[in-house]
Symmetry: C2
């Protein structure tokens, strides 16, 4: 497997491949790979002739008081995992390669970013949309793979690709969970043992919602409040948000009269964890 | 020559061409073509195997009190001119095709837009950057051609292409002028005969600047003030701005100690006209 660090080297490598008619898949990551990432890589390897995985902790999607410096990194292990999974190329640029002096362009998606993580992380999605646009232009992938844990991120990218007429096919993949239900996340490493138990309150909330829905509850505000109460009383977690939203528009619902997504963000110790689940009605 | 109105039709047509290894040039225009536009088209026809000209009066680059409705259109004549010049495809989408319901993505360039036309037209360059990004993604050109009359626009596009790692080569072409010096513009049609004479004050200013530079003047504020005085006393034009700027950074200069660009915007009757000239020191 190749490891490249510059935009030009990747562009040159990809141009050669595409001249030969080969299909390219891209899995954008911030590294410290877990089974969630690897499910995307495996899908890309299966779907395409050539799989590029970008490993780049993107500074512009972190707020000033967030965990950019602390964000976990293990490039050696990432390389081993990606080699074993059959990826073909790691693109691992420096921040200076991606944002050289004078950089001053931004891609932003409005509307669906004025909710959920967009409220508590105001610069986050501009950073995501901009770096993903750059990665798409560098790698020119036929398909790009994103996990569904970052549900809002996936919708932001779908919106951006549609609005800007990008030619890539965006493929959203299911959340991968630990055996006890905790959604895989690079940030789970921040959790101390007792916090790890508290973190289960996120995925357990979905069982509560399902039970309420099965019992005929259709008031979204009741669903929301019961989850907030449950998390507050069963864990040391601090709720950032609990929302019952429309699956595409992401607006908060008052009444359940179609499919819904329950989306949660909680702070537990140093970690801010997110999770979500689609409920078919 | 083909005329296509939908994004998908253009994407399909271009994909076929590029599979066959043919080079594609793009000339983005708002139509009502004049000799300035046609110089870009001819250059593209000479440089590439296939030339796409987009004809789209882009609503998002007009401010609320600007001339969107009045902007001149003559698609029949445009088609004739482009056919004669050897263009291969006109892309002429509706506003709804470019901005369907729910559209909510924006590309913006900061820094160099906080000057010149960016000050009096605050939404203008976001509109330009976004529509040009869309056109680049739709047409996937090897080269794209822009005139230099919109000097700031050309720099914004160069910045955006560099920052977002777009693969297109941006080619800036010289301003084309009427025989009396007036820069070609679709908006010149707004000028009444006596205003047409006033409009010559823009290009004549450059003669004044050259004379001052030849006489050793190096205070950019003096150059600026002399041009403002000249335009105010020799025409019915209202100065929007006169700036002596750095050719790439576009910041206003106090002292001339390298190449400069003189950039002007004036209002004459209904028309807002711009012009600029590079002075080699």
């Amino acid at each position: 497997m190749k490891i490249l660090n510059t935009v030009n080297d990747v562009k040159t490598a990809i141009k050669e491949l595409q001249k030969a008619g080969r299909k390219v898949g891209l899995v954008p990551t911030m590294g410290f790979l877990h089974a969630g990432h690897m499910s995307l890589v495996k899908k890309s390897v299966a779907d395409n002739d050539f799989t590029v995985v970008s490993v780049f902790v993107n500074p512009t999607q972190f707020g000033p008081n967030e965990d950019l410096e602390a964000y976990p990194r293990d490039f050696e292990n990432d390389t081993k995992l990606l080699t074993d999974a059959g990826a073909d190329l790691i693109f691992s640029p420096s921040p200076e390669e991606m944002y050289p002096e004078g950089f001053s362009t931004k891609v932003s998606v409005s509307g669906i970013t004025n909710a959920l993580c967009g409220l508590s992380r105001p610069v986050h999605f501009d950073g995501v949309a901009t770096v993903v646009t750059k990665l798409f232009n560098i790698v020119n992938p036929d398909r790009a793979y994103f996990g569904s844990k970052d549900y809002q991120q996936l919708q932001v990218i779908r919106r951006m690709v549609k609005d800007l007429n990008m030619s890539v096919e965006v493929i959203g993949m299911p959340i991968i969970r630990e055996s006890d239900g905790l959604a895989m996340s690079s940030r789970n490493i921040y959790l101390k043992p007792e916090e790890r138990t508290s973190a289960l309150s996120l995925s357990k909330s979905f069982g509560l919602i399902q039970k309420l829905l099965d019992n005929g509850e259709r008031d979204a505000r009741v669903l929301r409040q019961k989850v907030v109460d449950y998390i507050n009383s069963h864990s040391s977690a601090h709720v950032d948000y609990v929302e019952i939203i429309h699956p595409e528009k992401l607006n908060s619902l008052e009444t359940v009269n179609g499919d819904i997504v329950a989306a949660l963000a909680v702070k537990i110790g140093r970690a801010r964890l997110i999770d979500n689940k689609l409920f078919k009605i």
